[in-house]
Amino acid sequence: MRKHDALVIGASVAGLAAAAILAGAGKRVLVLEQQAAPPEPIGPVYALDPVLLSQLRLSVRGLRFVNRDLPLALPGIVLDRDSYAASRTLGSLGESDAKAWTPFRREVHALARQLRRWWWSALEEGAADWVLERQAARDYFARLSLTGADAFLAAHFQSEALIAALLFDASAGGFHVSEPGSALALVWRAAQEMAGLEGAAAMPVPGTLVWSLIKAAATADFRCCASVTGIATKAGVVTGVRLATGEVIEAPLVLSSLSGGATMALTGAPPLQNRVGEVRLLISLREKIAFPPVRLVLAERPGIYADAHEAARSGRLAAELPMELAAAAPDKITVTLRPVPAMLGKDDHAQLAARAVQALSRQVPGAAALVSGVRFMPSTTGARATLAHLLAPSAVRVKTRFAGLYLCGADAEPLACLSGRAARIAAALALKDPALNSEGSE
């Protein structure tokens, strides 16, 4: 008799979701969390997986949203989901961009519609060719996969400010915005928007996302303050994990919500070099401020993405960093900055906090005087997404070279996001894993 059918590393949103699905299927799951309590994610959730939402009945279990659809914005301009309203506000940037907006939306969404089937049927095996059923679409994607996001956008728009704001989504997952294929990131993001929860980014009421997931995963066991220092493997098969205390916990399945690089490092494989990541911080204010319900991207010109990327690869913070501001509550603002080096020191944190507060007070005058605290969320850095990664079947990204070891974190998505879809796929594959059924589970 074994004690646990599966171990989940990290009680993050993805870890809790995977634990909830496995526990719901009657498996004995143990969640290992490094902190004293499941940490609360901060900031907007990108396209929370709707299948997960209904499968785990999260809204019945208390998930509430402050805002379910945060449109992208740049200073003075809100890119509303109604493309005609957006193009009207774009008039201030120039007539040609205002005219180009609607065709651009239409084009990206036409491509996204092709990818959407692939998003929904994530569990089906096979490559992407059946997804792109028409030859014309396949050719178009082949061309896109050779195009950088900045070139793709420059073909549509003239305003640098608009291009720079749109590039923010393309820079997720460590993409260099001029890299061939990064244009696909924009399309992937649009597909997420179309298939995800109503809009691109939703802002849950603080605390409710973790609470509803914990209710969903209630039959799973938790170990708090348990830091995993190694994943034990034998002949390419996972046998369990080692904790910092020296204890070994055995299980035939391990689902890791850490990044791919960190997970592989735990198995003893040489660590992957991933040098570019993002950082997210939460600014608490003493008083409520008026912040519009948008994701406000601050990036003045497209060039700063390339500069910041170069700096991040050499381990430095660039002089200018693109950042995204959104309100989690009237007195809480979350700021996402990228690209930054994956490893950040204490001084870097202080500098990033100062920059974020400065940027906030430029948007909302007087906000700097109200700041009462800044909290950092551990940066979600991962293996850099590649084009092959983007179009590979989900199973490829979720599985690792060790049998029984699955990635369920945001990192197993082509673009790092908190959607929970990778957790759903990993849990579904884990449930079919022969290791789970071969030994008697009773």
């Binding site: 004293a36 066991d221 170990r223 009462s372």
Partner: protein, 441 residues
Amino acid sequence: MRYDAAIIGAGANGLTAAAVLQRAGLSVLVIERAARPGGRLITDDFHPGFAASLFADRMPAIPVEIMATLELAIPLQIESPPHDICLRRDGALARLFAEARTPHRRTPLARLRRAIMPVLPGTAWPGQDLAARALSDWPDLQAWALLGRATDPDLAGSAMTLLALAGAEPRRGGLGAVGEAFIAAAASAPFRLGLEASEIVVKSGRFGSRASGVLLADGSHVEADAVISTLDLKRSALALFPWAALPPAMTASAAQFRMGGGAARLLLALKRPSGCSAPFLLPGDDAARAAFRRGAVPLQPALLIDPVSARDASLAPAGGAVLTVTMAGIPARLFDGAWTPEKRAQLAAAALRRIEAALPGTLAALAGIRVIAPPDMEAQLGASEGDLDGGQLAADQMLGLRPDARTMLPGFYLGGASTAAAPLGTGAAGYTAALSLLADR
């Protein structure tokens, strides 16, 4: 799988029990209905940037045995009593504490009496529950009895808090820092979070019945050889067992056990320093005690006002301050229905008026406020009637006269606030329950 022990509640007691049993090589499962372990040892932001320990500011000190067994390393500030009542020269009270903590002995009333008599010469004893007011000849003793909890000095039994060990709090981070140390000590035990224990399964065999597991709110069954409940006596005995599963004598004694009445808390975030540096008590009036008995919202209860950020700067941002107000004798159930937002506001407004009179300028500096009423304590901590002491600290409910860790039902142990060891130290009840369980194996 079958666990050696299931522990209900992941507060200090539950975590201590889990850690002790784990170290003895038993397999343990901790069941907690909140999303995070820690029980009342939780510090949270109640207003952006302002944090406070939600349910209490101080706790009974952590006994040395627990500090050592769990290898806790928390820098605590412990207020030592004015007279060395915990360790009298003749050793009476110290011996009493030692015995109350040993699992195998029930301390008779005579010992309790012998211990307390030298402290309070000439006081009628027993026969009436001592009120702290009766200590007016020993002002420092009286202050000590009232410190840390907002006990009404006129409330019968309030002097009994003298028998609890010294109050303590961590130097930084509020009680949440202590909670995290306890969680880390019990880290090798699995928790089940977000799931309430709904029933303790009793199996009858050839040698009588014994506890054999816990049913959870979702219908799943945790099998265990023994169950430790860290809930209070009333909840443990009257709500967790199927009808007639317990010996009638145990049910009757649980039904007769008196809860001491609830407390409410106000957490105030101030934009500038509060102007006081030490906690002080505003005594309640007769109308408040009458209101408590009637089940109405008392407008002038005893208030303990504590400038917690003056001792622990990590709780408030620079330039700000956190005041906590603990109100004693607040009924958990009102005669005219539920604790509506209006009644909470009424309670808070009355308290704020009195604080403004005592500390002028508080209202003008107020940035945020949070009200924690007895039903919130009951809902979040599972404390019956919002009583964090787990039962009135009256003479007939103190020390050896409180329930023992071992109960009449084999395999079922009490490790919560109602037990004899509980007032003697944080985690002491869980520690005693774990030792009793180990002794019985």
